[in-house]
Symmetry: C2
Subunit: 333 residues, 2 copies
């Protein structure tokens, strides 16, 4: 359950006062999202009914970063992307304050989260990611990547080899080897800018194969575009049964991305390394959460080993897997 702030209907109504959206009819807590509290709020003014998402920012999101996070979504929305753009208050602010917490009212987006996306949906997600990259390039703010390589090492060191070994005996050695590999092989000079950095299927709303919502920009940061695509590939393109790359989805996602932003040869060549980096990023944060007594329990914690399995697949990739796509396969279609 992701609603940390427990508000009475009267208090929610008071909270909504800075926005010109009429009277609160009904509020429904949303049981998703680990970083904030969310409600579907239904309001009414005369005969007009509206529906929005109310977000109260909890721990993990620094209010000092709201101008970036909410400004970015506002900018993407103005660029025609389907994002939960913040509704300005009557005084023109993108958020307000309530009992010491920041709160924003976001446009409601239709569509649903798909657990097991197909190739057409992966293609749409790839297309949307490229549109995010291109549109965000004209956004005025940036954000340093706080979950880069140094942070992976720091998080894993904080967990320590003994606790990591409780997840899998050979995990400490594997991760040490992997961090050293990434230090030696991480690319530089790839095209970069604001990247979403968390485009998992549960952050994409779909209506069939059409993307109707791109959610949760709270990990967005300046980084390589191709690393962002690698994260999306890790999140969308593995076969649920055998754990191998789901080639049709992989090819579709990259082809979709390239409809708007074709990859450079250097980005293709770097993809195996970027994928391994993406695995480390999620192994590190999931392991840190796993052993964090304060982290949300049960449903909130995610299995670090899911990305250890992906890491093994990525380590065994042939160097030419991305750089020499078969004609009409990864690059084409």
């Amino acid at each position: 359950m992701a609603v940390y702030s427990d508000y009475s209907p009267a208090e929610l109504a008071a909270l909504l006062r800075p926005w010109d959206v009429g009277d609160l009819e009904r509020a429904q807590p949303i049981a998703a999202g680990v970083s904030n509290s969310n409600w579907h709020v239904h309001t009414r003014r005369g005969a007009a009914r509206t529906r929005h998402v109310l977000t109260v920012f909890e721990r993990r999101i620094d209010p000092a970063e709201l101008p970036f996070f909410l400004g970015l979504v506002d900018h993407l929305g103005r660029g025609g992307l389907p994002v939960p753009a913040p509704v300005p208050t009557v005084s023109g602010e993108l958020w307000t304050w309530h009992r010491g917490k920041a709160a924003a009212l976001l446009h409601f987006l239709p569509g649903e989260v798909i657990d097991r996306p197909d190739a057409a949906q992966a293609r749409s997600a790839g297309r949307a990611l490229a549109r995010i990259h291109l549109r965000a390039a004209s956004f005025a703010k940036g954000r340093r990547q706080t979950l880069g390589r140094a942070a992976w090492r720091r998080m894993l060191d904080a967990v320590g080899p003994d606790r990591l070994a409780t997840l899998a005996p050979d995990l400490p050695a594997l991760l040490a080897e992997e961090l050293a590999f990434l230090d030696r092989n991480w690319p530089d000079r790839l095209p970069s800018g604001i990247a979403h950095c968390d485009l998992f299927p549960d952050n994409v709303l779909l209506d069939g194969a059409r993307v109707t919502g791109l959610l949760d920009f709270y990990f967005a940061a300046t980084d390589f575009y191709a690393y962002d695509l690698a994260i999306a590939v890790l999140a969308w393109c593995f076969d649920e049964r055998d754990g191998a790359f789901a080639r049709p989805r992989l090819e579709a996602m990259i082809a979709g991305y390239e409809e708007h932003r074709p990859l450079l040869a250097a980005e293709r060549r770097a993809m195996p390394v970027l994928l391994r980096g993406g695995c480390l990023r999620f192994i590190a944060s999931r392991a840190a959460d796993w052993f964090d007594a304060d982290a949300p329990s049960a449903g909130g914690r995610k299995d670090p080993l899911a990305f250890v399995r992906r890491l093994h697949v990525c380590r065994s990739l042939d160097a030419s897997f991305f750089s020499d796509p078969p004609q009409g396969a990864i690059a084409g279609a």
Copy 2:
């Protein structure tokens, strides 16, 4: 004089045959550009007259890089930018071969080169540079920066301190100190992608304050966008009389750039270092040309000391010069 290939009218007519532009009426050599030979070519078919620029690629441009250079200009042209886009041959190629040299037929652009641009023109140039960055982000090819920091050092080492000292006695020490400074302070993780890297006034055609042509993408490479802007600032924004920053032009150029792509705080902070890097880049290549017996003589060689003077100005910049713009000054208006 920049025409290295001396062709008879009959040979030029033969050279033009792959393009469907009618019969050659007149060809006028263009005395600009140090990397290739150029002609204004006037053709006629029936009553229709057309005018193009014919380019024959000489030394300095590797034909293997033509798919990048000409493809980039083609891509920018399709995006609505005023560039000398290549006219495809009847068989659809962006260039052809003639006597072992590549040749392209480029759209003629009106406008003129302005020696001493004013603030309105600097603003237009800044605006155009941002549009190049945003549009080029969806181009499928990239190009490694071959004139980056390692190349500056290599070129200066090849000239050697003795010859550098003939330009100015304290130059070898200054440049050694500067290279060490740049190695320590060069930023990473700034937004990057294809940068023009040579947007001097002689590469911009103007009609009043309107940009009618963006020329010479032969130094374009993947690099920081803010470094590209720093190069343009070095080229456009110094006072011809006292050698100091021409503040009205500087503020106008940055404001123009930010109309399309606002700078991040990190890019503003890095600007003094990027400017010093830009000075080194042109000091190094100009010094290398200066002492190169094979380089074009007289008009073709450019004074390295012009950028040593700029370097001294950039070294004396207050750290807050770009990062805390006065309201309505650099950032605004």
